[in-house]
């Protein structure tokens, strides 16, 4: 893991953690990142706690220390507890998580490890628990957060550990 940042973040101090980060250096993509971030949280049928569940599973796999340490305040307000976060590990199938949460994590694993259409049994379970729009939301939020975590890691400057910290959706 790199500990030295590979780029210098802009000197802006807008309070928007994306705009003020290295992502803010690329003018052609910045506004699109900002718009997508807000849309992922606000414009889909999955609730913030479920979004966060998928985001954290992806962050754990990518190994992004910052992404793992962050908790979005809207997810905490939506009921995401640290007890539940502690169940997002490789033994989640045997955990006390509700079936719907387990299916979210199973879908994340499919996306990360063997991207392809869910097999018939998994698709049937998804259809029983999630609407089509919820399944689309899950795929798109993963696309966003997984790519974001990979980018954060590739930019360097990641410490070996960080304390848990609550942040707001950058708007």
């Amino acid at each position: 893991m790199a500990t030295a940042a590979r780029v210098t973040a802009p000197e802006s101090d807008t309070g928007n953690l994306i705009r003020d980060s290295a992502l803010g250096l690329v003018p052609e993509t910045l506004q699109h990142f900002l718009d997508l971030t807000v849309a992922v949280w606000d414009a889909g049928p999955l609730g913030p706690a479920e979004i966060e569940l998928a985001r954290l599973r992806s962050a754990n796999y990518v190994g992004c220390v910052m992404c793992k340490a962050v908790r979005y305040d809207v997810a905490v307000a939506d009921g995401l507890s640290e007890e539940k976060v502690g169940l997002i590990n490789d033994d989640y199938r045997n955990s006390e998580l509700p079936a719907r949460d387990k299916l979210i994590l199973q879908f994340v694993d499919l996306y990360l490890h063997n991207p392809g259409p869910p097999d018939a049994a998994f698709q049937q379970s998804l259809d029983e628990h999630f609407s089509k729009a919820e399944q689309t939301h899950l795929a798109l939020l993963l696309a966003y957060f997984n790519g974001f975590s990979r980018c954060a890691v590739a930019l360097g400057g990641m410490p070996d550990s960080m304390p848990r910290m609550e942040i707001s959706v950058p708007r």
Partner: protein, 147 residues
């Protein structure tokens, strides 16, 4: 069982606000000042090979110089690829396996050619292209057209 969508637009039809934002972000990489679109296309295609996505491989976002597409698997020893393209392809390959494994030297090689902004743009693009390819595989898309 839902009927498989044909292309990205069909796949996100029930969630157009998020779908269109992601498509907008994807499109924004093809007109960057910092990294040539042809270099990013090579990286996208290499990701398609590594992820085994025929639809992403068949898709053409940018026309490439003759021979590059056919020689892409052999890029390290090929004279068809510039030093700048090779620096980006090296980062793309490591990114596909484990973004944490990108070394400072590999990042520096990209910055030598495209600067810090170019390196940021590259790793942004790799994340978004990887995601688009994975979505195509998850949704079993036959076309990677986003429009």
């Amino acid at each position: 069982m839902h009927q498989a969508p044909v292309n990205y637009r069909d796949a996100v039809a029930d969630l157009p606000e998020i779908g269109s934002r992601f498509a907008d972000l994807y499109r924004s990489f093809w007109s960057l000042a910092s990294v040539p679109a042809s270099t990013l296309e090579l990286c996208r295609l290499r990701q398609a090979q590594l992820l085994g996505s025929d639809a992403a491989w068949q898709h053409e976002e940018v026309e490439l110089p003759p021979g590059q597409r056919d020689s892409l698997r052999q890029w390290p020893g090929s004279e068809l690829f510039s030093a700048a393209e090779k620096a980006c392809l090296e980062v793309a390959e490591v990114h596909a396996m484990d973004a944490r494994a990108i070394t400072d030297q590999q990042a520096e090689a990209v910055k030598t050619h495209y600067g810090e902004v170019g390196y940021v743009a590259l790793v942004q693009a790799l994340g978004v292209f990887d995601a688009m390819t994975r979505l195509g595989l998850i949704w079993n898309l036959s076309s990677m057209e986003v429009d």
